[in-house]
Structures are given as structure tokens and as C-alpha cells.
Symmetry: C2
Subunit: 334 residues, 2 copies
Amino acid sequence: MVTMSDVAREAGVSVMTVSNVLNERLPVGAPTRARVLAAVEALGYEVNLTARHLRAGRTDTVALIVPSFHDYFGEVADQIAPLVEAHGRHLVLERTSASAQHEMEAVSVARLQLYDGVLLSVAGLDPEQLSRVRTSKPIVLLGERDVPDHFDHVRLANEEGARLATAHMIERGSRRILALGCTLDRTHMMTSDRRVGWEVAHRDAGLPVDDRYVVPIATYSSETARSTLLDVIASGLPFDGIFAATDVIALGAVAALASRGLRVPDDVQLAGFDNLEVSSFVPPGITSVDPNHRGVAQHAVGLLHRRMAGGDGPAEHVVAPVSLVVRGSTRGGR
Amino acid sequence: MVTMSDVAREAGVSVMTVSNVLNERLPVGAPTRARVLAAVEALGYEVNLTARHLRAGRTDTVALIVPSFHDYFGEVADQIAPLVEAHGRHLVLERTSASAQHEMEAVSVARLQLYDGVLLSVAGLDPEQLSRVRTSKPIVLLGERDVPDHFDHVRLANEEGARLATAHMIERGSRRILALGCTLDRTHMMTSDRRVGWEVAHRDAGLPVDDRYVVPIATYSSETARSTLLDVIASGLPFDGIFAATDVIALGAVAALASRGLRVPDDVQLAGFDNLEVSSFVPPGITSVDPNHRGVAQHAVGLLHRRMAGGDGPAEHVVAPVSLVVRGSTRGGR
DNA sequence: GAAGCCCGTTTTAACGATATTGTCTGCGAA
DNA sequence: TTCGCAGACAATATCGTTAAAACGGGCTTC
């Protein structure tokens, strides 16, 4: 490996002069500078980022830590990357498999040292565990779980989104709307917040709230959603609308409905959450709550950037606004 | 920051003893060992990975460098992660936006130092550029572009997959099959290899090959595919089957067909490539070539692991076999 | 009883960069 | 002539760790 001192020897100068030429810290005389650059070129020298990091304490790298790489998180990551790069830093992704243990390791003191800042998409850790994190580097949390107050946090307007979607279907005639993939518990998590929105929409419309219509699912996959919905259909519970907690779930619902000959939106209206790219292409187009990836990304990176620049104000808790994208799966959509 | 020498002082031993306790290199006496561990606990010491890396020349980290984080690459990444972790290493993802420049930077000497090995999904670099890469660390290439012989490389059986899909539709009655998203040129890239498979299937069946049925698209998005197919329909070119170069394209095709009232598979059979998860849920289920993510991941990680372990045999060029998953979008599927 | 050896531990020397301080030269002002 | 000062470069210490060699005391071995 070619080191700075190789270059220095080749150019007949000291290592610091090489460093000064390359980093433009202290001024270097033109002839010396030229010799150094020539030597760099001749030897093909490139800086050792690890050594720089050890000495300078800066990596120019930000980590985005997500439960998995696909679907929602992949899309968010693609939004975040250019924003981080706009600040002259690199973005790397790490994966936790949504396990609390992996998330804890990812924000351990040891791993945090590798980055100037971290965006952590919380899936497994509860507030109590999070409060035990020794936060030696700027961390901004993403996601729909509750987090301790002292963390910067960006989350979606889950309740409002679910309310919008449900109210829309009520307005378009649905009276028995399943909350597929939602949960009844009161922990502030994505699935319960969205259920609350579903509930609020019912109350607002003066409709009764029937807990039998809240249908949790075991895992958040399309396949589980499909089979769960088939069970509901088989049970004979009458319904004419489905609010799916995520578009992945909505997709499973689409498959289940189609296989039972139920027409969307004529027999059953359907709305999802996440506005995945596929949702606009699956006939008849799935009405979905747009989570505003760009906005989330901008808020998150903005907060992180402020911290990395040394900002030390109180932690901010951003609730990113969402909007409803109406498509053919609800009546009146195209 | 708590360092090893802080721990050493606390425990009344030298730093090397601390290191030996923590890394279990040289044996340490039980009482000393206990004192060290107590000190580690008391001070909350965690190793500085950067310093370790600088000294030991090992990061225990593998990078997967992809054009973008979503869809195909996100799914592959999720397959690769556990395999890398099984070898006791971490996986991180980086993104290149499919730009040749970013790909080149990602495998620069400087950046390669940060990892023990790299999996590079080639999208922007041509063989000539790749041959200029100074390969200071093990690199395994992924993807459908041609690459220089001296690189380990894992690619899909693109031609065979396209042939399978097309032959299947021919067998089930289609006679005029669009090759949507394929290209006519002869560079060995994904889009041309898949077109060749489409062509071979026609020849095998004794059907004429009509270049008008090869329909390239400007960008590989569902939206572009949708509008391109609408143009084809408007042009009046008669067709009764579509081989879509990717499932993302197939998805756009589904939307276009639906919006024109064309029924799948009755009026038009449709087959895609990639077997994305969504493809099994979009009614009536999209027949697709399964790219065998698991197999690709296993081959790639296997090759990389061998190199990282010091293996120095000749470069291997693996063509991972693919298979056809028949669904409702072709006749006879369910 | 000298030589060798084992064990547990310390000492020394890197790894490759950067921050800080120091040295030398040349030039202008007093 | 002397002093001061700035500019250009060099020397040295340092970041936190690990590899390798040195050490020293007790024990075996002949």
C-alpha cells in the first residue's frame, strides 16, 4: 500500500507537506506543491480513510439503520441518500432484521464511532431500551414507535392518515370497514395509531365502532394478509371496505379479494398506507396514504445535519404530514 | 471516550493485558482477567473499531454496492445479509445511482480499505473501465453486464430465462409477443440478452422473428413501461403476448392493459422477469422468471468468502440458473 | 548448578494519518 | 546592522489499538 510517507520520500518533502497539499490546510509553495502532486500521481497514492478517521475523528459518513432493505425502507433510503450526499457525506445502510438486539448493537458506542451521525429506523426497541443508549454521536430516530423525549424523532401522521383513508371510504358509501393489520392495544405503535384513525373516522361520521372489524395479522407480509383476509371472508363477517395498515397488506388483500371474485371497488373499497410505487400500477390502482417520503427524509436529514454541525437545542419531535392519493380502488377514483 | 488505557489503569495492568482479555489472544490469569472485566464493566469501555482496523488491517465488514436501494436490489440485499453475517461479518450497503463515476469511486483504493471485501452490482461501468480498477481488496461482481475475465462474477441466465418465459407463452397459444423493455443491440447487457432469449424461443418454435416487436423503453420504471405500451397499443401493432424484461415493467404493462380493457391472459398473456414479491399478488398473478436470489446470494458470498480467506484460484464466472414461475397471467397458470 | 522452558505480563514498535510546535530563510523597518 | 515577522517547510507527538519481542520467576532437566 502506498502511504503518505512514500509520497513524501518520492517528492523529497515531509509528510506534513504532502498532507497540506492534499487537504489545502497550510499554504505550500507552488514548485513544492507541483512535485507533491506529481509524486501522488506517479505512485497512485490515495488517502487511508481509516487513519484519517482515527486521527481526525471524522468519517464523513452517515449510517441509516433499517429493519430490512426492501419495500418501504428501500424507498425511504433512496430519498435520504441524495440529501446526505448534498452535505458532502456518504450514506451507508445497515440492517437489523427488526430485532431489538441488532438495533441495540447498531447504536452501541463501538459502532457509532464509525459514523458522524446515525439515522435509526426503530422497529424493535421500546422507549425503555432506547433510553439506555449511550448516545455518543448524533442520532435521529425514525419510525412509528414511541421514543424517549430526548431523541430527535421523525414520524408520520399515522392517525391522521388512517382517518383520511377511512373517512374517504365512508364518504363513498362504505359502512363496514375492516382495519386489516391494525391492532387494538393502546401502545403507541404504527398499528395502533392507524387503528385509532380508523376509529376516529367512524366517530366523526356518527358510525358505530365494532372491534370485530379490527383484524390484526401475524406478520406484515402480503401472504399473511392474503390468508388472513381469506379467513375473514370465510367467517362470514360482512364488510364493504378495507383499510389496510400498509400497502403490502393491501396487496395481499387485493389478491384475496380477486380470488374470491369480489370486485374492487364495486363490492369492496380498499385503501392502503405507504403509497408504494406498485400501488399505482396494480389495477384498479390502490388508493393509499402517501407517507411523504421526501418530507420525512428532509426533516430527518435536516435534524441530523444540525446536530452534526454542533447544534444542541432541545430534541425535536416532527410529525410529518401525510396526504391521501385517491385511485381506482375507492369509488370516485380513476 | 473511554480507552483501553483507561481500563488498564483502573485494573492496574498494561493495555496489552486488557487487549488479551478481550480478544482472547494470549491466555491471562484468572484473577487478572476478572479485574480487567470488572474495570471494563465499571467504565463502560467499548473497543474503538477504527483504531483496531488501522492496526489490524481488518474491518469484519463487507460492502454491497448497488445502483439503488429499492426493488430488485433491496430484495437481493436482504438475501445476502444473513449469509455475510453467518461468517461473522457485517454487511453495509452503498448506493451509486447507477452512475459509472459513483461506481468507480466506490471501488477506489481509498474506499476499498474500509471493507474486507466488496460485492459490486455493476450497472454503469463497462468492461474497459472495470479493467482499470486497482483491486486492492477482494471484489465480486454481480449483474448482467459483461465484465473483464479476471473478476469473479455472478450473473443470471438471462437468455435462458427469457426463452423459458417466451416459449411458455408460445406453447399456450401466443403468436405475436412483444419484448417490452428489451433492446436490439448486441452488447451483452441484460436487455439484449433477454431479447436473445425471446428470439431463440421463436426460432425453436419455428415462428418468425419480427424486430418491430422489440420495444425498448427509455427508463426502467413502471410508469415509462405503461406509457410506452399505451403507445404500442395506439399504434395498432397487433399482439397477444408480452414478455416484459423486468417485473417492474410488467407491472406498468398490467396497468396499461387494464386501462385499455385488455384482459390478462384472455386477450394478452404476460410474463415478466425477477419474480418480485408483488408479482404473485397482482391479480391474476404475474408469471415471472425467478432469478433465484438465494442462489445468486450464495454464489456471490461464497466466492467473496473464499477470496477473503486468501483463496487465489482463477476467477470464476457463475451463471445462476433461473426458473419459470407460472401464474394467472399466462394461460394454464392459476 | 547452569541451561532451558513455560507462563503471565509488560515493553516496544508499529498502523497512517493530522495538529501543533519548531526551525530556517528572506525581507522590510528601525 | 539588527530586529521582527511572515512564509514555507520539517519534526514530533498523538489518535487507540494490536503484533511481536522481551522479561522474570519458578520449575524441570541433565
